[in-house]
Symmetry: C2
DNA sequence: GGGAGTAGTTAACGTTCACTAACGGTACCG
DNA sequence: CGGTACCGTTAGTGAACGTTAACTACTCCC
């Protein structure tokens, strides 16, 4: 309805279009003229809003990293506050990440693709935020799957991020039924991945039945 | 000259270094002078071996896509020939992909990151190879997990690729015990993901009909 | 009405980049 | 020795890019 679109203030407009273009063609593949054209102004008019091209990328990356971390922290804290089990907290983290991946595709792409185009200062900040986010997940994952060593858990988290961030690769049109179905599918995939990493025998905490697919066990490597 | 193997023929040397540099800093972020310097010659000397910078990227991407597809086809054919179960074939596909991801990191990065920097002809070729590879997986996956609809299976395959291709994000040093352990872990993660996708109840999302529930949250597109 | 601030324009500058031109050395081969 | 193909060099070219400069129009506010 009359959702108050609160004045998409040129700045945000620019950031949004820049994100889309950067994601499509890469940071170095997009000129400032194109970004300007995408918002109706042309070329150097952008410099009224940003000190430079890189500042746009920096703000985008810091923004997404910060929001991911903030959201993750909030969900973890909610879990501690209420009587949630670690498994439920992990569930919530997965859900939050999926929301990001589905709603902010361009940012998710940039987030792990164009980080190295930042200057030292910005890059270190973004990396720090990313690391904190990863460690947040690792902590929760290790509570749910205590048999995972820390390094293993971290690798699993990175892998699941790769899985969840694969949304951009799903074809644009009607490849999947819809948003909700896609989210549910990703959720199941992520949970399954963690379960699989933990090993075939006694995973205690999660009630998900093991839908038996006959596999001849561990000829793993 | 009976020794066939050790001929790192300048050309291959160039391709290898170009792959590394493209993966590190992006196609547009690397200059031809740097590529030349990386192999000991400088700048335009490269044009004795390649008609242009983009030709190097094209050869790299066609190469990796082709090798992935060839390897996948070989494994699938071996499965058909022998009495292998679909689950065993899928196992083999996963193993093959992991080998690629672990042994040719730069190429795996380029493979899904710099595709759009190619000219139409090359890009279509690479996309065709990639699509065939995906469809190969989808076929096998649907045999192992028959309850997955085709679109779902395809999404799962893409997601698992994202998972397996996450290796570049695993920290460089001794983050994981070793190659074998990493491969085994990735294998378990991938299998678990498929299991998880299949295992959930079909209550929510099995029909192909336009379930109206999806688009609820799409306000403000 | 007259600053002041904001948001935009076009023109130009300096650099970087992919690529070409012209040239030289070296190995093989008659 | 002369010829040829290969592999490399340095110098240069035209285009594109990020950024700055100089200038214009509009709005707000006393």
């Amino acid at each position: 309805m009359s959702t108050q679109a609160p004045a998409p203030s040129r700045r945000e407009q620019i950031l949004k279009e820049a994100a889309r273009l950067f994601a499509e063609r890469g940071f170095h593949g997009v000129g400032v003229d194109e970004i300007g054209a995408a918002v109706g102004i042309s070329g150097p008019g952008l410099y009224r809003h940003f000190p430079g091209k890189e500042a746009m990328l920096a703000e985008l990356l810091v923004g997404i990293s910060g929001r991911l971390l903030t959201g993750g922290k909030r969900r973890a804290a909610e879990g501690e506050g209420a009587g949630r089990t670690p498994a439920e907290v992990l569930d919530s983290l997965i859900e939050g990440h999926i929301d990001f991946a589905l709603d902010d595709r361009p940012l998710i792409i940039l987030h792990d693709r164009e980080l190295d185009r930042l200057r030292d200062t910005d890059r270190k900040l973004v990396r720090s935020l990313q690391r904190q986010y990863v460690e947040l997940w690792v902590e929760v994952v290790r509570k749910v799957y205590p048999r995972l060593a820390e390094a293993e858990a971290r690798a699993c988290v990175h892998a699941v991020f790769g899985l969840l961030n694969s949304t951009p690769h799903l074809g644009r049109p009607g490849a999947l039924p819809g948003r909700a179905a896609t989210a549910a599918l990703l959720h199941r995939l992520a949970m399954g991945a963690f379960d699989g990493a933990h090993g075939a025998d006694g995973a205690a905490s999660e009630p998900k039945g093991r839908a038996a697919v006959d596999e001849e066990s561990a000829r793993g490597s």
